[in-house]
């Protein structure tokens, strides 16, 4: 494994092609000073009025003459000093005018690649590219690239991460994708109408401000509470509709493709074997229609939605592609906590359940909003058993399963003896489960695709 690396170091290195971002990049922060001025004006109108009257045309022109070129120069310089390059094993991003910063992102550690296009970027024909690696932050995204360039770069990064030879990685191109699921707008809208959170925030936004008005008769208090509440209501209904519009899940040799968005388009690629947990969520009002939502956790990724709404069978087919060889266990397969657990968690104890199959550790919770969390055995980092005094008196215990995406899945209220056995058995399974896992470079030997 080390031999080629050493060879590379010794051999005369081919010059790494360093590239710059798209020339519109400096403009992306152009709104910031405007926003600051507007924010200040809104925050303190009287003061603004007074300052404005004091301003003469000359000073205004003078200020603009200084500020605009300075901002332009700064924008130009940050763009000029930002380079990125793709080498055999990493993506290198060099930034910084005064404080130099070089990010080296190892390609085989990539957990997901997002190409996103906010509305204005779509107009300008550019896109952001972000690599999800454990530990990267906001700075490590490439914003902006030309839309075509971003697409080509993603294909190249994925090809290199998959283990294609560097010489051929250029030509491999975009892997063909097969569409698994596309959410119809009607279904999405209806699913949001049938979500309790939508109505909850809406009701709060409509009820709280009038009450406050009667109580205080202060416009500012009412506005200060009404605006965030309206914002939350909008975000949970219209915002979600816009973000989850035209949600498409496709399968390709490079992994799972998720494309979404009405105004801002986001294209996400999750390479094979990166999914740490999958949750199948069934809100109360969706159950009659047999709909589910599927959430997933990928280490280092911010997106946690796989399917916003879909019939159960369709969602299960998608899950079968995400976690190869795993079928979602039906509710009847769950083993429930012992009856005495009702003294620990009254009523809701019925919602808990656990089933362990060859592929996954699946824990169920919730009575109204039911959620089944699946963890592939190979993704388990550690197993913990916890038992407080009250649980010990009742002879029950919780088993926590920790995954790499910083999510813990818990099988609650298991019989104490069963939990102790589960602890040992799960550790054994998580250790051996790794054997069947794909290698990090998924196109190299061992992958039977």
């Amino acid at each position: 494994m080390t031999a080629p690396g050493v060879d590379d170091a010794v051999r005369e290195k081919p010059p790494v092609l360093e590239r710059r971002l798209h020339p519109v990049t400096p403009l992306r922060r152009a709104w910031a000073p405007v926003a600051v001025v507007i924010g200040w004006a809104v925050h303190d109108p009287d003061q603004t009025q007074r300052q404005l009257t004091r301003l003469t045309t000359t000073t205004l022109l003078l200020a603009i003459a200084v500020a605009v070129p300075a901002a332009a120069l700064y924008g130009f310089l940050t763009w000029w000093f930002t380079h990125f390059a793709v080498t055999d094993s990493e993506l290198r991003i060099r930034t910084g005018l005064v404080f130099r910063r070089t990010a080296h992102i190892r390609l085989e550690r990539i957990q997901a690649i997002d190409v996103s296009q906010p509305l204005l970027a779509r107009v300008a024909g550019v896109a952001k590219l972000k690599l999800d690696v454990v530990g990267t932050d906001k700075k490590d995204e490439l914003a902006f690239l030309g839309a075509e360039e971003a697409r080509a770069l993603r294909a190249e990064l994925l090809a290199r991460a998959a283990g294609f030879a560097p010489e051929t990685a250029h030509e491999v191109g975009e892997a063909p994708a097969r569409e698994l699921l596309r959410t119809p707008p009607r279904e999405l809208a209806l699913s949001l109408v049938l979500t309790g959170a939508t109505w909850g925030t809406l009701a709060a936004a409509l009820v709280v401000p009038p009450i406050l008005w009667f109580a205080t008769h202060s416009v500012w208090t009412v506005l200060a509470t009404a605006l965030p509440l309206l914002g939350a209501a909008g975000a949970s209904s219209v915002g979600r509709f816009v973000a989850e519009y035209d949600w498409t899940v496709a399968d390709s040799p490079d992994g799972l493709r998720i494309d979404r968005g009405l105004l801002d388009r986001v294209h996400e690629t999750v390479p094979p074997g990166r999914v740490q947990t999958v949750r199948v969520v069934r809100p109360l009002l969706w159950r009659r229609r047999g709909w589910v939502r599927v959430e997933l956790d990928v280490a280092g990724s911010s997106n946690s939605l796989l399917v916003p709404v879909a019939p159960r069978e369709v969602a299960e087919a998608v899950i079968a592609r995400v976690l190869p060889g795993v079928s979602v266990p039906p509710e009847s397969a769950l083993s429930r906590p012992p009856r005495r657990a009702r003294w620990c968690v009254p009523v809701w104890w019925r919602g808990y359940g656990l089933v362990v199959t060859d592929g996954v550790f699946a824990a169920h919770e919730g009575l109204l909003r039911r959620s089944l969390a699946l963890v592939p055995h190979a993704k388990v980092q550690s197993v913990r058993l916890a038992q407080g005094p009250w649980k010990r008196a009742l002879g029950v215990a919780d088993v926590h399963v920790d995954t790499g995406a910083n999510k813990t899945v818990t099988a609650r209220l298991r019989d104490a003896e069963e939990a102790a056995e589960l602890l040992g058995a799960q550790a054994e399974r998580s250790r051996t489960g790794r054997r069947d896992a794909l290698p990090d470079r998924w196109m190299t030997e061992g992958a039977d695709r």
């Binding site: 494994m1 913990r384 058993l385 790499g404 054994e428 250790r431 054997r435």
Partner: protein, 175 residues
Amino acid sequence: METGSQENTAHNGRTGAASAGHEPVWTGLPPGLLRMRRLLLVVWLGLLTVGLAVLLGLLAGPVWATFALLPLAVAVWGWVMLGRNWRSWRYAERADDLLISRGVLWREETVVPYGRMQLVEVTSGPVERHFGLASVQLHTAAAATDATIPGLDPAEAERLRDRLTELGEARSAGL
């Protein structure tokens, strides 16, 4: 790399299965930690008792000074509790994973497969160093994994660290 770890797990699968049958060999903590904690408890609560007794005796009268017995009672209770807590801590190095068990009322048992360890840390604060103690902390990719063994002999802590690192490398697996 990948094939190597596969062979390893396959090989150890047998020994693991064999050792899973009988109970793991538990190791308790050395008495140094208990000694340190009890000493700290006695020193702090002793000072509090004396301070309170003197203060109350001077300001409110000797009868009130009996309230100073309260921290003393806490000290006695703490003495017993520290002993129980110390006895509850134990760990076992099995063929493929490390077991840590702790707690009297709130019992917790953690299993960390060696292959999942990202980093092993030996830490020793100033007080611990004075008492010749060190703790070993294991980190996996999951932040929720809280596998710490406190109050070890520094030599034992280093042995454990080296062994864990070695085993971790042999069975290494990423996320």
